[in-house]
């Protein structure tokens, strides 16, 4: 497995945990960014270069920024009046998440002998990906384009509507 893998894995997991545990929301967003970056590195380690870079481009470059923007725009409610940042019944949520992990881990570990082996590296070149996108996956591509357009317009409308009323 190698040392790099464990390092990157630890970084990612730490970032993820920090993202959900920290009190300060901006710190959460920054930890999330670290998690995203760690994941991109994992992708690179898995010879999925294109996926790694897309990860960085989209997640780190857009989603994390978006989260920060949202945090900054909803500043007034950062510290709740009563209790802490966790809900009153956080124990039940924790238990359920632990159960999910237990099931997944159990499934993985139980099927260890049956899992596929390394079959040799395959470098997926950008050309191959482009060909695939335009060929086999052209329909999903177009649909995703439609989806992105709708999401764009929708998000703008949802966030814009209030602004217009505020302006009056």
């Amino acid at each position: 497995m190698g040392f790099p893998f464990w390092l990157i894995a630890a970084l990612t997991v730490a970032g993820g945990m920090a993202a959900v545990l920290l009190r300060n929301l901006v710190h959460c967003a920054l930890a999330l960014t670290i998690a995203f970056a760690g994941l991109a590195l994992l992708f690179l380690q898995l010879d999925a270069q294109f996926a790694g870079f897309v990860q960085i481009l989209v997640y780190v470059g857009a989603v994390a920024i978006l989260v920060v923007f949202a945090i900054l725009l909803t500043r007034g409610s950062e510290t709740p009046k009563d209790g802490g940042v966790f809900s009153k019944t956080w124990g039940a949520g924790l238990v359920i998440a632990a159960a999910i992990f237990a099931v997944l881990a159990w499934a993985v570990l139980e099927s260890r002998p049956g899992l596929p082996h390394e079959t040799g590296t395959h470098n997926a070149s950008v050309q191959e990906i482009g060909t695939a996108l335009m060929g086999r996956y052209v329909l999903p591509l177009e649909i995703v384009a439609l989806l992105l357009t709708a999401a764009l317009i929708g998000a703008v409308i949802v966030a814009l509507h209030e602004k217009k009323e505020e302006a009056r």
Partner: protein
């Protein structure tokens, strides 16, 4: 003893008159029914209906009598019956029917004739009474019932009419029911005769059980015909009696109640509370005679088993009771002061004579006295009614006197009746009928004592009647106000009855004993050749004269004051008190029978209230408690469970609604949980 004549042949064919014989009692009963639904003020209509129906019955009776007479003249003994089945129970059946023979024929004519005269008399006597219509309704009903008793061929039909007669007697004795004494007297009459009727019923049931029929004559199968009598004689009944003897005694017990023989005589004197026509008709001529008629009717049963010249147990008992009653009542009559009471006790005494005559001499002897007595006793009662009416409703003889001046016609007819009753020789029917009884007593095979007692009774009869006539019609007027003669509508029947009181003797003299021949069904043979006949006639006449003379000596034409003591009372005060108080029989009954009955009623009442009432209350309580329990079950268990179920449903709904908090994270958690479970199941199942 009259030698046995050859008996006529029996003729049992049915004729036209027998077919409609049922009309004779039916017409007065129908009239009574119509009068009952009339409204009160219709006096004329009710009187016309009653008298009209009885006249029609009289006509029919005369036709029937004529038919039987013609038959007798032709040498046959008529006995025609019409029988029909009334009830069918399984294989058994109960029959009813009527019979036309000499006995019923003479009785029919007598009842209709005397009844009709009394009806006419009543229109005058009850003219001022406001319940005129009710009187005639009851009177008509009585007449119909009595005629039913006479023609009945079935003991059951006789009993039914017998009870009806008792009912009407009750209704008529208590006619003025507002008077407490009248109501009490009516009740007493009914209850006392009831006691006799119980024995009658027992005898009837026994007869039916033994012979299977209650018909008297039924073409050889009737209970009074030789076949059934033989069966009765053959079955023993304990105490040395045969069934025939026992049944005879039981039936006589019923007759004793109706005819006022001791010890059931106590009701007759009290029955004088009723209006005088009632006393005349019911308690002199007809109803009380029903008992004598009953014994005469079932005479073959009474006589069954006797040898020629001998007697049977029932007849002996009849004789003794009759004799004792005759003397007993005559003694009491001596010391009475109410004009009607004297006549009442006289009736009881004469009924005793009739019973004695039946017992010792046979049907004809007793029946002859019954017929003559009906006429002169009705005459005497109606005369007494005339006297009462003329003295402004006064009934105490000590308040009367010298009425021969004020009421001559009444006096004349009353004198005829009195002499007939006393047995004045030759011209008066009473002499001949009483002589017949005395003659039979003289020749009775069992004992001679009844003869002497009956002679003594004759003396007493003459004596007390003379006493009564002296007090009422002779001496000085001791009453209040003026006496006056009665209207002619009341006097007219008196004359007719007086005539018959004298003339009826002709049909029973020994020179031509037609009555006996007619009833017994043989040719009339003169019995003048009997040894000792003239001696007997002379002797009885002598006794009568002694009685009359004694009475006249002590009471006749004396000027006495109203509150003077009776001479005999002054002479023997203790005996007088005993006689005046009727030998204290009523008081004896009150202490023994009535007291026992009252005690028994108390016991029954306690039983009813405490025991049966307790049972009923207990059952009620049980039902109540079980109802309450059921209700509790219903409310608590059934309703409760249902309500609880609904409550649980509502609660669970509430519980489930609690899941919908509106908080997204909860929904997420539930989703994740579901995923966990599903995945686990999937993996688990794929593994296995």
């Amino acid at each position: 003893m009259i030698q046995e004549e050859t008996v006529f042949t029996l003729r049992e064919s049915t004729s036209a008159i027998v077919g409609i014989l049922w009309l004779i009692p039916a017409l007065p009963i129908a009239a009574s029914g119509i009068v009952a639904v009339l409204q009160q003020p219709r006096r004329k209509a009710s009187a016309v209906l009653a008298i009209g129906s009885l006249s029609a019955s009289l006509l029919l009776s005369l036709v029937a009598f004529g038919h039987v007479l013609v038959g007798w003249a032709q040498g046959s003994q008529v006995r025609e019956t019409v029988n029909f089945t009334w009830l069918r129970v399984g294989t058994g059946h109960v029959d009813l029917g009527w019979v036309l023979d000499p006995l019923s024929a003479v009785m029919l004519v007598m009842v209709c004739f005397v009844g009709l005269l009394i009806f006419i008399y009543s229109t005058g006597y009850m003219a001022n009474d406001e319940n005129f219509t009710r009187f005639f309704c009851f009177l008509s009903l009585f007449a119909g019932a009595m005629l039913g008793v006479v023609i009945a061929d079935s003991l059951l039909l006789l009993f039914m009419c017998w009870e009806l007669v008792g009912l009407t007697s009750y209704l008529l004795i208590g006619f003025w029911y507002q008077k407490p004494s009248a109501a009490a007297a009516a009740k007493k009459a009914f209850l006392t005769t009831r006691v006799g009727d119980i024995f009658f019923l027992l005898g009837m049931v026994w007869l039916f059980a033994q012979t299977g029929t209650l018909l008297f004559y039924n073409g050889g199968a009737g209970s009074l015909e030789p076949l059934k009598l033989g069966i009765l004689l053959a079955s023993p009944a304990g105490l040395g009696l045969t069934a025939a003897g026992a049944i005879g005694l039981l039936i006589f017990a019923g007759a004793a109640g109706k005819s006022g023989q001791i010890p059931l005589h106590v009701w007759l004197p009290d029955a004088m509370e009723g209006p005088t026509p009632v006393s005349a008709l019911i308690h002199a001529a007809t109803m009380v005679a029903a008992g004598v008629y009953l014994v005469a009717r079932v005479y073959p049963l009474m006589q069954a088993g006797s040898l020629t010249g001998g007697t049977t147990v029932p007849l002996t008992v009849v004789t003794w009771i009759g004799t004792l009653t005759a003397v007993f009542a005559a003694l009491i009559a001596v010391a009475q002061n109410d004009i009607k009471r004297i006549l009442a006790y006289s009736t009881v005494s004469q009924l005793g004579y009739m019973m004695a005559g039946l017992g010792m001499g046979g049907v004809a002897v007793g029946m002859f006295h019954l017929i003559t007595h009906a006429f002169f006793k009705a005459l005497l009662f109606m005369g007494a009614g005339s006297v009462i009416h003329g003295c402004h409703e006064e009934q105490d003889i000590r308040q009367m006197g010298n009425l021969k001046i004020e009421m001559p016609f009444t006096f004349l007819t009353y004198a005829v009746g009195m002499l007939a009753l006393s047995g004045f020789p030759i011209f008066f029917s009473g002499f001949w009928s009483k002589d017949g009884i005395l003659e039979a007593a003289q020749h009775w095979s069992v004992a001679r004592v009844p003869f002497y007692l009956l002679v003594f009774g004759a003396l007493l009869t003459a004596f007390y009647m003379t006493r009564q006539v002296s007090y009422v019609f002779f001496g000085t007027w001791r009453g209040h106000g003026e006496a006056h003669e009665s209207p002619s509508v009341m006097l007219f029947p008196l004359f007719i009855l007086a005539f018959f009181a004298m003339a009826l003797g002709l049909i029973g003299t020994p020179a031509w004993p037609w009555f006996k021949a007619f009833l017994d069904g043989h040719a009339a043979v003169s019995g003048l050749g009997e040894p000792g006949l003239f001696a007997l006639m002379a002797g009885s006449s002598f006794v009568v004269f002694v009685g009359l003379g004694l009475g006249w000596r002590i009471y006749g034409n004396k000027r006495v004051k109203a509150d003077d003591l009776d001479p005999l009372e002054r002479a023997t005060p203790t005996v007088w008190t005993l006689l005046e108080n009727k030998f204290y029989i009523d008081e004896l009954y009150g202490v023994t029978v009535i007291a026992f009955y009252a005690w028994w009623a108390k016991v029954a009442d306690w039983l009813d209230r405490c025991v049966w009432g307790g049972v009923v209350a207990g059952v009620t309580l049980l039902f109540q408690k079980s109802a309450q329990l059921s209700r509790q079950l219903d409310v608590n268990w059934v309703d409760g469970s249902f309500d609880k179920g609904c409550e649980e449903l509502a609660n669970s709904g509430g519980l489930l609604a609690g899941v919908q908090t509106g908080r997204v994270q909860l929904y997420l958690r539930l989703l994740a949980l579901a995923v966990v479970l599903l995945t686990a199941i999937l993996i688990w199942s794929s593994q296995g």
